[in-house]
Subunit: 372 residues, 2 copies
Amino acid sequence: MKISSFRPPDRILMGPGPSNVHPRVLEAMARPTIGHLDPEFIRMMDELKTLLRDTFLTKNDVTFPISGPGSLGMETAVVNMVEPGMKVVVCVNGAFGGRIKEMIGRHGGIPLVVEAPWGEPIDPAKLEEVLSQNKDTKVVAFIHAETSTGARSDVAALAKIARKYGCLTIADTVTSLGGIPVRVDEWELDVAYSGSQKCLSCPPGLSPITFSERAVNAVKNRKTKVQSWFMDVGLVLSYWSGAKRTYHHTAPINALYGLHEALLLVQEEGLENAWARHKKNAELFRAGLEKIGLKPFVTGEASLPELAIVTVPDGVDEAAVRNHLLNKFNIEIGAGLGQLAGKIWRIGLMGYTSNEKNVNLCLEALKDALKR
Amino acid sequence: MKISSFRPPDRILMGPGPSNVHPRVLEAMARPTIGHLDPEFIRMMDELKTLLRDTFLTKNDVTFPISGPGSLGMETAVVNMVEPGMKVVVCVNGAFGGRIKEMIGRHGGIPLVVEAPWGEPIDPAKLEEVLSQNKDTKVVAFIHAETSTGARSDVAALAKIARKYGCLTIADTVTSLGGIPVRVDEWELDVAYSGSQKCLSCPPGLSPITFSERAVNAVKNRKTKVQSWFMDVGLVLSYWSGAKRTYHHTAPINALYGLHEALLLVQEEGLENAWARHKKNAELFRAGLEKIGLKPFVTGEASLPELAIVTVPDGVDEAAVRNHLLNKFNIEIGAGLGQLAGKIWRIGLMGYTSNEKNVNLCLEALKDALKR
């Protein structure tokens, strides 16, 4: 096999992530690599933490990017907050809630599940029911924007109930951060993590995370060591905070240049303007879908502006439509996952992807695919 | 704080890693992001696996890059190969052996330590002694090139003894791969992992790993689930191999473009030519150090061409020398870690950094710093 330099095609990324990356972010990543303990790099890290705090709307000191994708951020949250034998309530209304449940079990916790059908938000009353029957629960985990179903849960309400029962919270904001409001401090979330490749317009590979003081104290007061060395936030922080930075692992330098630039773009646009842009383009897209006879799988309050979920019409070969979009229009859209495989398309309008031109192009392409 | 785009200085990276990144690798990383299930991306992944096999000198089917830095590769090796209650011999002659030991304990294994003083290689006879007294040992872990001390151990000899006692092996080749021979198949190593940012001239953030068929079978026959969901190689492979690729986590697309290009550069140069270049420049550097009166901390067979360890002369402020090199010459060299802090400099001539110009510049800079 003769191998040569890889030249990726120019795709319009309208799947559930990654979204298209802003050219300024790509350019930033190509700047010369420097050392992970270089004083200039440490200055950049401090700026990055400030930018992340502004994006998470938090004053949490412990706010930094995990050196791996969103799923590693998820496991970092779980492994630090969960101890063997601990009761943890996990809200499951899609694949990612299920993933948290699996992680809780692997790290020795006892997962108690609050369920909702795929495509629907978690009912806060159900969470309260489970907590009132399990008063020794320590942690509650939930997904803000379920990437597998496109359903938005009311994280503020869930967190309020968790606090009422003395629980710490883990919030997955992978597909929400930058696209819809995520108010870590106002909602008193304890651990929230996200991914770089969704509404932040950055390539995949980094997972911004933030820990409240309550969460940091809980980690400090663990009876057992965190089961993972790499994900032990107490160790990672020797590198990411404090006056003297000491080596833990080698940070992904150039990827962090990219995230710094991506967050700067969010700051330049203004977080509220970014939310408004996502909303406006989602409304345009929804109206267009209706015109061509396509129905949303998730509706109303629970729907996400950054991720439209479209029901595959009866008799339509969903994979053929996706292939047609990719091959003829260079547009990537996402398939259904798990129990929704074959039944839905997941169409992302996230970050840099969310603009009117892409909305119109995708609608044209869908129309073209469906008339065949 | 007014934050603007980050413009890193142009450093000559002569620490223990990261090394300088080839411009072609930086350029590759700035290409447009595509989806992690895009057919074109999957084709690139297959090429990447082929290039990695050629670099590890293995035919192992399970050879791919972990989506995180070398320490995550280390923990992936440990968490998959070690089960709770399992006896694991770990060879410790520096900080990284100590790190493996810590990980074994966190994942429920019982670490038995074979020690050597920092700066010396592991004595194969000592490994044999411990194994002959602990015949229920299942796994032996060792470091090929100890980045904290610059000592090279005889991995072929250690692996042979481990096999004699029916043990599987974990080999850390983070600072060896691409700089000195790493012969996974010839030495019958079972799990070997590396890092992208050393002799492969790629930014940090990825950890190439390879599993022998024996290792894959051991993972398949585990009695307990792998304690980490993210690092469970059985799950990760649903994405990295087989005819139908399914989503596990979102791969760091652009970082993988970079590794693909970096490995292509190794292939273009020829692996043996790369080893020869590292050796030649190391000899030049060693001769130059001698001329200016600096003494190597590691000598002879145990010394590494890609990482010179220099003893700080009595009465010299080691940090002042490093700062002088950084500020006047834009050269980064590394400090000592742990028990060697303040006593040594770690000077890397890895990958793209390893050339005659850098050798001479670093010698000039050291001379300049020492005469002050």
